[in-house]
Amino acid sequence: MIINSNNLTKLFITSTMIGLQSCGQSGQNTPTIQKLTITGSSTVAPLVGEIAKRFEAENSEVRIDVQTGGSSRGIADVESAVADIGMVSRALKEEEKGKLYGFVIAKDGIGIIVHSSNPVKEINDEQVVAIYQGEIDNWKEVGGKDAPITVVNKAEGRSTLELFLKYFQLKNSQIKAKVVIGDNQQGTKTVAGNENAIGYVSVGAAEYEIDQGVPIKLLPVGGVEATSETVRDGSFPLSRPLTVITKNQPEGLTEEFIQFAQSEEVHDLVRGQNLIPFQTK
C-alpha cells in the first residue's frame, strides 16, 4: 500500500516537473528580442503602455513590458534592478536625485473635486487643510449647505497623496479621512456618488469625466482655476511632472525609449490620456 502511494506522488511530481520544464524551454527560443521592463505609478502606466506599443510597432525586435503598482514600487524596482525603467507621478526628491536619473514625459495637475450639486464655489487653502484635518466637518462652515463633509483621501504610497500633503503642508497622520482610495478613477467615482464628498484627482482626468457628464466639479486651488491650460502654463500651483527614472545613465535601448517618450511623436498619446505634454527645450 505504501509503495502505491509513493508511486502516485512520484507520478504527480514528475508530471508537474515536465510541465514546468516545457514552459521554460518555450521562453528561451526567442533570444534575438530585446526586452525592457517598466514598473511604477498607475497614473503613468497607461500612457507609457501606449508609448511602448508605438515604440514596439516601429522597432519589431523590441518588447516592452509595462507593469503597475504605484510610484514607490517603481523606485524600489529600479533600485533592485527588477525593472529597467521606473515610473513616478511626481518630480524626484532631492535625496533621490543623487541615486536616480529622472526624465519628465508629461505634466499633470491635481485638482480638488466636489459633487456638481455642491453650491460651494471656492475654498481657500486654509479651509482645505481644516477640512482634511477634521476641524471643519460641515459644508455650512465654508458657505455650503448643512451637511457633513465626507473626506476622500488617497492610500499611502501614492504620489498624488504625497504632492497633496506637500502643497498643503500636512502629514498623512493628521488627515481624518472617511474614505481611502487607490487609483484616480476611484476618486472621481467616490465623489460622483456622494453629494457631500471632497477629494482630489488628476485635473486632466477630472476634465474628461466632466465632459462625459459625470456629476463632479473642480474647485480652484490658491485662487487659480484648475484647467489643462493653467497646468500647462505653470500657473496652477498643484501640478506634477510625470517622470520616468533609471538607476544609471540610460544607454542603448533604454536611452532610445526615453528619448522617444519625450519626443513630439507621442504628444497625441499624452493628450489621449488626459495629460499635458511636456516641452523639452
Binding site: 508511486n7 502516485l8 514552459c23 521562453g27 498607475s42 501606449e50 514596439e56 484616480n184 469625466e209
Partner: protein
Amino acid sequence: MKQEIIKSPISTILVWLVAVLVTGTFAWILGDIIFHGVGGISWEFLTTAPEDAGRSGGIGPILVSTGLILAVAMGVSVPLGVGTAILLAEFTSATNWFGRFVRRSLDILAGVPSIVFGLFGNAFFAKTLGLGFSILSGGLTLACMVLPILIRSAEEGLRGVPDELRLGAAALGLSRTTTLFHLLLPAAIPGLLVGLVLGIGRAIAETAALVFTSGYVARMPQSLLDSGRSLSIHIFDLSMNISGGDTNAYGSALVLVILLLMINATAAWLAHQSSSKYNDSYQFR
C-alpha cells in the same frame, strides 16, 4: 408545534423576503452588467487587441492570457490537490495527527487574503525562482491559492463514497491502486468537480494576487514566461484607473460572467453525466 411556527405568517414573509433579497441582488448585478455590457460585445471585441489603454479595441490577448493563467493554475493544482485529497481521505484516518495537521493548515490557507498570496508569489516565483512577471508566476500563485479549496472538496467527495465499495473491492482482491482509479475516483467525480468549479471561480476572479505576478501587459503572450494581463485586472484598470474605460470594462465584465456561467454549466453537465454513468455501472445495493 414546529409546523405551527413555520407556518406563522411572519416567518414565512421573512424567509421569502430574504430569498427575494438574495436573488434580487444577483439579478440586479447581472442585469446591470448585461445592460451596460451587451452592446460592446462583438466578435471583433473578443479577438482584437486593446487600443488607447483599453478605451477602444478589444480583449483578444487578455482572453488568451486569462486562459493560459487558468490552465497553468489548474494544471498544477488539480494533480497536487487530488493527490493530497487521496492521501487525506484514503491513506490517513480522520483522527490521524498528520491528517489533522494538514487539514488545519489548509483551512488557514483558505482564509488567507489573496493579496498575501500575491506578495508571496512575487517574492518566491517572480524573484527567487526568477520567473519574473509571467503567466507562469501568476498561474503558480493562483495554484497555491486554490489548492486548499480543491483539496477540501475533493476530500469530501472521496469520503462521501460508501465504504461498501472499498470493502467489496478488497473482498475481490483488487489492489488499492485499482480500487482508487477504477472505483473511488470515478465515484468521487461530482465532489472533485465542485472543487474545480470553486477553484476556477476564485482564480478567474482574482485581481490582487495577479497584479504582482502575471502583471499588466496587454500584449498577446508568446510563451508562458511573458507577462499577461488577466480579465479581472483589465476590468479593474478600466474602471478604476482609465477615465472613459467604463464601456469596455462592462463588456469585459460580461465576458467574464459568461465564462464563469459556461464553466459552471459544463461542470454541472459533467457531474450529471458521470453520476448517471456511475449509477448504471455500479449498482451495488
